[in-house]
């Protein structure tokens, strides 16, 4: 059936659009910009901020363009005195409700309210400030800071937490002047079901939700001559950092980022991708071990499907929501935590530095990594393995603060030890990347051949579909792996906790058909993480993903097991893969948590 087109007129321009198209989207088609605040492309329509109002001929009241579908013959005006006055008034009301300490706000110059208030020339004193002078900021969480004095009640965070993540840690409480964004029983963020994913931060139009910042502490460490600061950067940081420093979305700035960090004064700039390669070796071996125990030894205790454990938001999600299924999780630590454990043991030993003086800092696309770094069990080096997890945004601010001219910076290479990486490590940053990296290695280990995909591109696990599936038949195996002969390995990839829930409901029901599942808490994987530059949307995430795969194809080595530094680590220091020392340093356990 042919879709019916609706004829409308916007600001004198006639056009035909699809049924159910909103006035806002119709206006976009003819390049008319309408300001928005509660609207976000990733989320359902709310229509509650009212900044996007327009005039529809024949109607007394204005219409919220984001929430009003077009109708045949509709005549819309977006730039009339009535519209401008109402928008200015709405902006002034929000300003009255908002803590306008813009000078000291972390989101200054990246704040949607600030931009609109300036555009509409809003006077801060039009209305009486509603900000409680005794307001407090919730800093209970390691990851997320919640400052209600800056909240404009757009409910984007609530919709993010409910729709994208199925977590519902944030919710609307009370009504009228008491209406606010709250948690279960108004408990602090560290005591509720929050997974620390930080997706709410990425969608907050103001500075009401931000990550806990630790870069001042990092400066202190850099300034302390006794301390040896080891920095490692996650795969997805290099394809997003540029957005904060003048480059277009999707620009790869790996070399410049390394140079900038050296200029800032890090003692050693290393690559989390190294630890990602290491994760593949440990996790791939763990998977093969589980398969062997089930197929050969008939061990009924072993759980399949095995679930990846790189994403700390996902880990906290499963701990809260599916506490009886933690046995499915790989015991491998995330790359950040593997790196940290090695930084204060292997690295310190090889470099001849007292581990007490090593400050290990991870630059992550993530808010949850801060919580992860501070998990009590993460001290297998004898110290806190990772001293701080900083976001891409925090690094961006440090580079600006240091006065580094990022745009014109020369490239440089990561330092060594633990600076080498492969393309397989790089793709960890995109949804499906861990799976692809694991398959590249595992398939080759058991068959002695490369995965049967053109140029190692395992396309079925790529892309932005919420849940992706693939299967790969194991045939003509090496002798050692003959027990797997003919097995069709089924895998799935999920990103966004909404999709993780679908996967886990299958696991809980015992109907999951998979052997191995990759789960990332954030939409798009780490490139869409809660610590990445703001704004985010599907288009931005796709560009970052493209950059990640380009990074992979530009690498001389693209399989984790070919990483020579990783090989050297096992040979000279760690011993067997999945061996005793590896278990001590690179594996972990999980905690059952409450449902609220």
């Amino acid at each position: 059936m042919k879709k019916q087109k609706i004829n409308i007129t916007i600001d004198g321009i006639k056009l035909a659009v699809d049924e159910q198209c909103s006035i806002l989207d119709a206006a976009k088609k003819v390049n008319i910009h309408i300001p928005t605040l509660c609207h976000h492309e990733d989320l359902c329509v709310a229509g509650n901020c009212r900044i996007c109002v327009v005039e529809v001929e024949g109607q007394r009241a204005l219409s919220a363009s984001c929430a009003t579908p077009v109708a045949e013959g509709m005549v819309i005006k977006t730039n009339t005195a009535k519209v401008r006055k109402a928008r200015k008034d709405v902006a002034a009301l929000l300003v009255a409700e908002h803590n306008t300490q813009c000078t000291t706000c972390y989101r200054s110059m990246n704040c949607e309210l600030q931009e609109i208030a300036a555009e509409y020339n809003v006077d801060n004193n039009t209305y009486i400030s509603l900000v409680d002078p005794n307001y407090t900021i919730d800093r209970s969480s390691w990851s997320i800071e919640k400052d209600d004095s800056k909240c404009i009640r757009c409910q984007r965070c609530v919709r993010t937490c409910a729709e994208l993540q199925h977590v519902n840690a944030l919710t609307v409480a009370n009504k009228g002047k008491e209406m606010k964004i709250s948690t279960f029983l108004d408990l602090p963020l560290n005591e509720v079901v929050c997974t620390n994913c930080g997706q709410c931060i990425n969608r907050c139009p103001t500075g009401a939700l931000t990550e806990r910042r630790f870069y001042d502490d990092l400066w202190d460490a850099i300034d302390d001559p006794k301390k040896h600061v080891v920095m490692n950067t996650a795969p997805s940081v290099r394809v997003a950092l540029g957005e904060m420093l003048g480059f277009p979305v999707g620009t790869r700035v790996t070399g410049k980022m390394v140079t900038a960090m050296k200029k800032i004064g890090m003692d050693s700039v290393l690559d989390t991708d190294f630890a990602a390669d290491l994760t593949i070796i440990e996790e791939g071996t763990e998977l093969l071990g589980r398969l062997k125990k089930i197929l050969v030894e008939g061990n009924k205790e072993i759980k399949l499907p095995m679930l990846t454990s790189c994403s700390p938001g996902w880990i906290k999600f499963i701990e809260h929501m599916y506490p009886n299924h933690l046995g499915h999780l790989s015991t491998c630590k995330s790359p950040q935590q593997m790196f940290g454990a090695l930084a204060k043991t292997y690295y310190a030993e090889k470099m001849g530095i007292d581990p007490a003086d090593v400050v290990s800092v991870a630059i992550m696309p993530c808010a949850a990594k801060k919580f992860e770094a501070n998990r009590p069990e993460m001290n297998s080096s004898g110290y806190q393995d990772v001293d701080a997890g900083l976001t891409t945004r925090e690094l961006g601010y440090m580079i600006r603060q240091a006065g580094v001219d990022f745009l014109h910076l020369e490239d440089s290479d990561y330092d060594s030890l633990m600076g080498e990486s492969t393309g397989a490590g790089a793709i960890f940053g995109a949804t499906g990347g861990v799976m692809e990296a694991a398959l590249r290695t595992v398939y080759e280990v058991v068959t002695g051949r490369e995965v049967p995909f053109d140029n190692l591109r395992i396309m079925p696990v790529r892309g932005t579909d919420g849940i992706k599936e693939a299967s790969i038949k194991l045939e003509n195996l090496l002798d050692e792996w003959k027990f797997l002969e003919g097995v069709e390995v089924k895998v799935a990839v999920a990103h966004g906790l909404k999709n993780a829930r679908i996967i886990m409901d299958q696991v809980e029901a015992g109907t999951s058909p998979y052997h191995f599942i990759e789960v990332m808490a954030c939409p798009g994987g780490c490139i869409g993480g809660g610590g990445q530059p703001i704004p985010t949307n599907e288009e931005i995430r796709k560009k970052r993903i493209e950059a990640i795969y380009a990074e992979d194809e530009g690498m001389p080595k693209r399989k984790s097991h070919e990483n020579t530094e990783v090989q050297k680590l096992y040979k000279e220091w760690l011993g067997d893969v999945n061996g005793h020392k590896a278990h001590e340093l690179l594996h972990t356990h999980y905690t059952k948590r409450n449902r609220y």
């Binding site: 709310a46 009241a61 579908p69």
Partner: protein, 389 residues
């Protein structure tokens, strides 16, 4: 201006009725559905909750929607300050309301209906349930398939707004939805739903009983029928009175005033304040000043500042809080008049607040938000001195 109808008392809503047998319903379900809809349209009946949407059209739209799953909801969340007429109906003649609901269900093709009862009316539940049991028995005998269920509100004013009411019934926060889609298209659980006020259903039932011709003898061209008025304030005759629509406010005040009436608040806290000088030119009805029935009289001993202050205190708590103009606007209006009174802001700040009230009227999400500024602008415009000094 339309000619006044004078003040005419009527007694049809509480009037004699063949009580427990649901004879009107029995008669109606043998009629053509379209014929009943046409009767309701021809009667000119408009919603009695305050907004005044033509009832017949609402039923027609819902009836025209495809699908078998439709709902009828009786809005008995009577929460407008100064309104207490539905309470009388619910206590005295619930059969008339239930019969009206059943006729509506028959006409639109619903087999499930609800009465959304104001939380404070919990005490009525036993009697209402008894009447519903009787209805269900009668309906079974008529071979008429309809179940009516009681649902309790929890005290939020905004849940009187039909889409917030539906959200509340679905177990969610009571917040108005974006419209369109309207409930007649996507209502309770996304299905076509008619939401009408208690009194509207009584009137619909009455039209089926006495016929269109008799019904339109009451009221005026634009305001057909009679109306229950909840009369309160400085009046010796406080209570519920049934009057024909279309009277002059001066006739009303002559009957119900205390010879010193300074202002009448028509339509509750969300309605309009009419000062003495406009009594003679104000018609109570859809051609003039519509009302859900609340009439509050104030005599010269009253401070209109205090009256307004009281309304605004109510609204800043009862706004659902989701949309900016209503949530922040209500607080600003209240803080604004206080600041002027305390001389923290100049008297000219009233102009800014009047502009704000205009924004609230055109930019708020729902009828509540759009109407809360009515009392503000009508009181401030007529009693500027009382606001400042």
């Amino acid at each position: 201006m339309a000619p006044s109808n004078g003040l005419k008392r009527v007694d049809v809503i509480f009037g004699a009725y063949a009580s427990t047998k649901y004879l009107i319903l029995q008669k109606s379900i043998r009629r053509e559905k379209q014929e009943i809809i046409q009767d309701i349209i021809d009667s000119g009946l408009r919603g009695r909750g305050g907004a005044g949407f033509p009832t017949g059209l609402k039923w027609k739209f819902a009836a025209a929607q495809p699908g078998n799953e439709k709902y009828v909801i009786c809005n008995a969340d009577e929460g407008e300050p100064g309104t207490f007429k539905d309470r009388e109906i619910l206590m005295k003649v619930p059969q008339k309301m239930i019969s009206g609901m059943a006729i509506c269900a028959y006409v639109i093709g619903a087999t499930k209906a609800f009465i959304y009862l104001r939380g404070e009316y919990q005490f009525m539940v036993p009697d209402l349930q008894k009447e519903l049991d009787n209805f269900h028995e009668q309906a079974r005998e008529m071979n008429f398939d309809l179940t009516i269920e009681l649902r309790m509100g929890s005290g939020a004013y905004v849940c009187g707004e039909e889409t917030a009411l539906i959200e509340s019934m679905e177990g969610k926060r009571g917040e108005p939805r974006n419209k369109p889609p309207f409930p007649v298209v996507e209502g309770f659980h996304g299905k076509p739903t008619v939401v009408n006020n208690v009194e509207t259903f009584v009137n619909a039932n009455m039209i089926c009983r006495i016929g269109v011709e008799e019904f339109i003898k009451l009221g005026t061209q634009d305001s057909r029928g009679s109306k229950l008025f909840s009369i309160s304030g400085d009046t010796p005759k406080a209570g519920v009175h049934e009057l024909e629509l279309g009277m002059k406010l001066s006739d009303f005040v002559a009957e119900f005033g205390d010879d010193d009436t300074k202002a009448v608040q028509v339509g509750g806290a969300a309605g309009f304040c009419v000062p003495r000088k406009k009594f003679d030119t104000t018609i109570i009805g859809f051609e003039g000043m519509p009302t859900g029935g609340s009439m509050m009289l104030f005599n010269s001993s009253r401070s209109m500042y205090h009256v307004l202050h009281n309304y605004l205190e109510f609204f800043e708590e009862e706004s659902c809080g989701q949309c900016t103009p209503c949530r922040v606007g209500c607080q600003q209006l209240l803080l604004g008049i206080e600041a002027i009174k305390k001389q923290e802001r100049p008297a000219s700040y009233l102009n800014q607040l009047l502009k704000l009230s205009e924004t609230m009227k055109i930019a708020s999400k729902c009828g509540l938000g759009q109407s809360v500024a009515n009392s503000f602008s009508s009181i401030v415009e007529n009693y500027v001195e009382e606001m400042i000094y």
